[in-house]
């Protein structure tokens, strides 16, 4: 039997059933790190009515800033699905994707983290 490792397998998650939620789209072109924070912009319960349940769940969850990873865990959806839903909501201004703490780790950020660890 020939063993084929995952690295050589197709990596097209669009064939995977849960991606039906995202109508087959994937997050490949809008990479969002698992640590990126998302927050809802001016939550309006009326807006939830026209949303898919999963989209509404993200919209509601992000009334308090949450990371991509926390959304995936809290809503029990794969990371890729969360990325697409967040991308869609952000595209129409319903959620805000927080900037990364630094594009390139800089001295200021590292020293800030070190101070935080010192204070634990």
């Amino acid at each position: 039997m020939t063993r084929t490792y995952a690295l050589h397998a197709p990596r097209r998650p669009s064939r995977v059933r849960p991606y039906g939620i995202t109508r087959g789209r994937t997050a490949a072109d809008r990479f969002l790190g698992v640590e990126r924070l998302i927050s809802t912009v001016e939550f309006d319960p009326q807006r939830v009515l026209g949303m898919l349940p999963e989209t509404a769940a993200v919209y509601e969850a992000c009334r308090y800033p949450r990371t991509i990873a926390e959304l995936a865990t809290g809503l029990a959806l794969p990371l890729g699905v969360i990325r697409v839903l967040v991308g869609d909501l952000a595209a129409v201004g319903r959620v805000r994707i927080h900037p990364p703490a630094a594009d390139i780790p800089d001295r200021h950020l590292l020293e800030r983290v070190l101070r935080g660890l010192d204070n634990l």
Binding site: T2, R3, T4, Y5, A6, L7, H8, A9, P10, R11, R12, P13, R15, V16, P18, F31, G33, V34, E35, R36, L37, S39, Y64, P65, T67, A69, E70, A72, T73, A76, P78, L79, G80, R96, H98, P99, P100, A101, A102, P105, D106, R107, L109, L110, E111, R112, V113, L114, R115, G116, L117, D118, L120
Partner: protein, 192 residues
């Protein structure tokens, strides 16, 4: 509190990757310092059940779930640090790329009873070259069974990569390992 809402919208996050072989103590390490119970996030992955060119690929069992554990530390009012453990199975390297992208730094945890299992993780970060990392020997029984120099030798670790020890169950040890990691990252920055 209503007063924190505007502040929350300015919240920032950063991440550190905790890498290493299956069973090396990554989740224990994260749990020792995380202020939330370690959570697990799942990514669906294609399974290599059939050759890539097999037309039946889409009909069989084609996916598996890969878990990535994470925890969190509030650095200060505006910044939260997330610790992400890599999936234990080495074959999910592409998930490592996902986790490593944008990481401040990384720790490779090693178990001296199975040093060979750590080689891929160390090689991964050496090859990337863009993420500062240290290697930490997990003291499973609270004791170091080999001299660190021997471990460094066996791992064929570059002299510039710090090698320390920690009991992954011990919060202070984990904190010190993280502090040493950040200091190492600071040392690697250009002076000006």
């Amino acid at each position: 509190m209503a007063s924190t809402i505007s502040d929350a919208s300015l919240a920032l996050s950063a991440k550190i990757v905790i890498a290493g072989a299956f069973g090396v103590g990554k989740t224990t390490f994260v749990a020792a310092i995380s202020e939330i119970p370690v959570a697990s996030t799942e990514a669906l992955m294609p399974v290599a059940a059939a050759p890539a060119d097999d037309v039946s690929f889409a009909r069989g069992k084609t996916t598996t779930t890969v878990a990535m554990d994470f925890g969190r530390i509030a650095v200060d009012d505006g910044l939260t640090l997330y610790l992400f453990g890599t999936p234990g199975q080495d074959r999910f390297w592409f998930l490592w790329d996902d986790l490593a992208r944008g990481a401040l730094a990384a720790i490779v945890l090693v178990d001296t009873r199975n040093l060979a299992a750590s080689w891929p993780a160390i090689a991964y970060f050496e090859r990337r070259g863009d993420i500062p990392f240290t290697v930490v020997v997990n003291l499973f029984d609270g004791q170091l069974t080999h001299e660190l120099a021997e471990v460094r030798d066996a791992l064929d670790l570059s002299p510039g990569i710090p090698l320390t020890t920690a009991d992954a169950r011990d919060r202070r040890d984990v904190r010190e390992a993280l502090r040493a990691l950040i200091r190492h990252a600071l040392n690697l920055l250009p002076s000006h």
